[in-house]
């Protein structure tokens, strides 16, 4: 009998715990979405002075290919120039995720243009991957990876 009571008490305690967990779960804060996401500036720091980044106010060539507003300022600590850009046409965040998956996100194009501008100004070139002369063969895991790699060159901390 004692065992039965102890068992019932344990079950009740467990039930109470689950109920508390469920109640608490409803109150669990979720990370806030960034309300400014669509309008945020994308930036790169270029290891060149501002007069070399935009001589005569001419933008680096990759940025002339995208529809974006651009600003720049000297980087602190002698790090060169902070170059910023953002698409003129802003998409809502939900649309942004879909259009990015389809490869049509205007922010992706701006991000790529900024990275290419940085590389051209610093090295005179944009490095290409050996993936262009592939040695790989198609596999199922490879297909999954292809989905990620398809956008990998457009990502990065911008």
């Amino acid at each position: 009998m004692k065992r039965l009571i102890a068992g019932a008490a344990a079950l009740a305690a467990a039930g109470l715990g689950v109920a508390r967990w469920a109640a608490a779960r409803g109150r669990t804060p979720v990370p806030a979405k960034d309300p400014l996401a669509a309008g945020r500036w994308l930036g790169v720091t270029i290891n060149r002075p501002p007069e070399e980044v935009a001589p005569g106010e001419r933008l680096p060539e990759p940025l002339t290919r995208v529809d974006a507003e651009v600003r720049m300022n000297p980087a602190p600590g002698g790090r060169g120039t902070e170059l910023y850009a953002r698409p003129l046409e802003r998409t809502a965040r939900s649309e942004g995720a879909l259009t990015r998956l389809r490869g049509e996100d205007s922010r992706t194009a701006v991000r790529t243009a900024l990275r290419e501008a940085k590389s051209l100004l610093e090295t005179g070139d944009v490095l290409r991957s050996d993936e262009e002369v592939a040695t790989t063969r198609p596999t199922l895991p490879g297909k999954v990876l292809d989905l990620a790699l398809g956008r990998a060159s457009e990502g990065g901390r911008l």
Partner: protein, 391 residues
């Protein structure tokens, strides 16, 4: 051409693949004359590094001869005998200019993957997955070397191939651990791991003036090799309590600098071994950090711990409390090789550094899978297998 290709987890094969091509004006094509296995390749083989595809050419530590250059190459020409740094740097971004070559901002064409994993992108690496740029590896007859003026170094006359090849990675990686770990004259230094990098870290610590250097491993032949060729003290962690041993050898303080040269598949003993093994198999922990934990516990208060071994993701039971309360400095990096290679080639040329003993097995490219079997399973005393594609 022939190349050693990753085909899947623990599966390698020798394949015929298209020759590499000059894709950028600052590229060169290098005819590979020696290319060695490296402990970090084992993480690729074991499937611990994401973003490998069937058919990827592996290998990143190599020596060769330049056979073709792009139109904007100025410092090298065909015929140059060069050692190439395993990390690709552009030489002109802020990170490269400040000596942090493995953080190059322009040499990884796939920055999105490492940015997602680590919150920042890192340099490209030869033969080290598409996350590191998708560059072909050096276990091949030829390899394309981007930004060759900054990544290839002429080998002085008189330096043998077997000494020079390790100036590509093992020697500068070990040197960086001692240098950035802050080794100073009179220090006591402990090094976890007696593979190629660990041995070179121990040697670097001695050359930088450390008074005592203790290297830790479990394999008798590696401990004996380290004792014989590096000339430092050694400890077998399977028969000795490492932390107590280091305390006893240092008047109760612990080492001033602890260098971890093991990486994400660290072996250990007792309950910790079971715990990490189970968690890693269940994918509840990506990397096994046993040697890092021990280094942090063993280090003297106020000392320095440098992580040279390769880690990819998250670890469990990291002793953050010990790190904080003991006032330790923890650092880590992929190697900034270009910062050190010219000086190291000089040291090798003068005979002050002789890493050729690491090459326990020399073989043809066709024997690539067998070389990795020997290397991974520590068979026949293998410390490094070096492939000679043209011999």
């Amino acid at each position: 051409m022939k190349a050693v290709c990753w085909q899947g987890v623990n599966e390698l094969s020798v394949e015929r693949v298209p020759d590499p091509a000059i894709l950028n004006a600052q590229d060169a094509i290098v005819k590979v004359t020696a290319s060695t296995t490296c402990g970090s390749d084992l993480h690729l083989l074991g499937g611990h590094i994401p973003a490998m595809r069937a058919g990827d050419v592996i290998g990143h530590e190599f020596l060769g001869e330049i056979v073709e250059t792009g139109p904007e190459v100025t410092r090298h020409r065909p015929g140059d005998r060069v050692v190439v740094c395993s990390i690709i740097g552009c030489g002109r971004c802020w990170s490269c200019r400040h000596g942090d070559w493995s953080l190059c901002e322009n040499s990884n064409p796939n920055p999105g993957i490492t940015d997602l994993m680590w919150g920042g992108s890192t340099a490209g690496i030869f033969g080290y997955s598409h996350a590191m740029g998708g560059f072909r590896g050096s276990h091949a007859e030829y390899v394309r070397v981007p930004f060759v003026d900054h990544n290839a170094f002429a080998v002085p006359e008189g330096v043998s191939d077997m000494d020079a090849v390790f100036a590509s990675d093992a020697v500068p990686t070990g040197w960086m651990g001692a240098d950035l770990g802050g080794v100073r004259p009179g220090d006591v230094v402990a090094v976890w791991g007696c593979g190629g990098v660990g041995q070179m870290a121990a040697k670097a610590a001695m050359l930088l003036g450390a008074e005592r250097v203790v290297a830790i491993d479990r394999y008798p032949e590696r401990l004996a090799m380290t004792s014989r060729h590096v000339g430092c003290e050694v400890v077998d962690y399977t028969t000795t309590d490492v932390v107590s041993e280091l305390r006893e050898r240092t008047g109760g303080r612990g080492p001033d600098v602890c260098i971890e040269a093991v990486g994400m598949e660290a072996d250990s003993t007792g309950l910790q071994r079971v715990y990490d093994g189970v968690k890693q198999r269940l994918r509840l922990e990506q990397d096994r950090p046993a040697a890092v934990r021990e280094a942090i516990h063993a280090c003297r208060t106020g000392g320095s711990v440098f992580v040279l071994g390769v880690f990819a993701g998250f670890v469990d039971k990291f002793p953050l409390g010990a790190l904080m309360n003991k006032g330790l400095t923890l650092r880590g990096a992929q190697q900034h090789g270009q910062r050190y290679i010219p000086k190291l080639l000089e040291l090798i040329g003068r005979g002050e550094l002789r890493p050729s003993h690491l090459a326990t097995h020399t073989m043809t490219l066709d024997e690539g899978p067998r070389g990795y079997d020997l290397f991974r399973n520590k068979k026949d005393g293998c410390v490094r297998a070096v492939f000679r594609p043209w011999i």
